[in-house]
Symmetry: C2
Subunit: 187 residues, 2 copies
């Protein structure tokens, strides 16, 4: 069982929304706020091939009307399982430092593949980990700040603020899910 790259998970998630071609996916990365991912063909097409070879997606050429030949991919049932497993796996404190992007990607497809209970569980754990981690950073800044140059201190302050913003966001997001659940929630 090989590792799956973050880009590959992004592709897999987007294919959960609807069948798409490599070119469709490239355009998404080129023209939307998902632009942190590479839109280069040298990244996308090999990644799709690998996902197909591992049986997580299946692509077939769409032979329809006048349009250019496009190979449309969709997740297989095994691909759906793998994606959901990745999405709902436990959040570790290490994830905050090394995989903040990955956490947000996992959350951003939550509605496509899981129920709101999963989303809420995710947010609660995230809140817990952030609330535990931020004081460590504040402590480091308090203790080491004096011996750091101004720009370094400010850079650290920026990192802390961004975690604090994330925490505030997670709390408000959790509130939205909670409220939606109380009022007769659909889905």
């Amino acid at each position: 069982m090989q590792e799956i790259s973050l880009l590959a998970y992004a592709l897999l998630g987007l294919l959960h929304q609807q069948p798409r071609s490599g070119y469709d996916l490239r355009k998404i990365f080129a023209n939307t706020p998902m632009g942190t991912f590479s839109d280069s063909p040298g990244a996308i097409y090999p990644a799709l091939r690998r996902l197909e070879k591992r049986g997580l997606i299946s692509g077939r050429v769409h032979p329809s009307r006048g349009i250019r030949r496009r190979r449309l991919y969709r997740p297989t049932s095994s691909g759906k399982r793998a994606f959901k497993a990745w999405q709902t796996k436990a959040i570790t404190s290490d994830d905050l430092v090394h995989c903040a992007d990955e956490l947000m990607l996992r959350f951003s497809f939550m509605d496509e593949t899981a129920d709101s209970a999963q989303a809420m569980r995710f947010l609660k754990t995230l809140i817990k980990e952030l609330a535990a981690y931020i004081p460590n950073l504040r402590h480091f800044l308090r203790v080491q700040g004096a011996s750091m140059p101004l720009s370094g201190r400010l850079a650290l302050e920026s990192g802390i603020r961004s975690y604090e913003t994330l925490l505030q966001w997670a709390r408000s997001a959790l509130g939205i899910y909670t409220r939606r659940k109380k009022t007769g929630a659909r889905k």
Copy 2:
């Protein structure tokens, strides 16, 4: 003139503060908020070798008292020039999307290698680019939000908030530099 990786710039920046060994650098990445960088020997030592081969740092074994043999590196004058050039180069709007980490790294060593005028110039440009970019994201959310699933909308909102936080931080940081300059500033 080859590309220099972000990790390599982080190493180069840290070596501006004081001569250090590969092990010192690994400990920094393992035990401080700079932990987003890899502390694995397979990343650090080859990176140091490459920097040395390119003439940006020079290392020599420190033969002093009882201590274990340590190869201490320090930047060469050419390395200092390259670092400063990287640090003070123009900020593009693309940097915000693809290299936010890189921007903060560039800033965090500003005091080591440049004067506060450079830091202020950096912050001003950052503020300008952020102020131009954030409305684009807000616009996207307004137009596309309705057709996005809740979790996707929230994830985008989180990204926007984090840019807004960065903008606020940049403004307050610029304020600090400005004030420090007015009152009889040292250095």
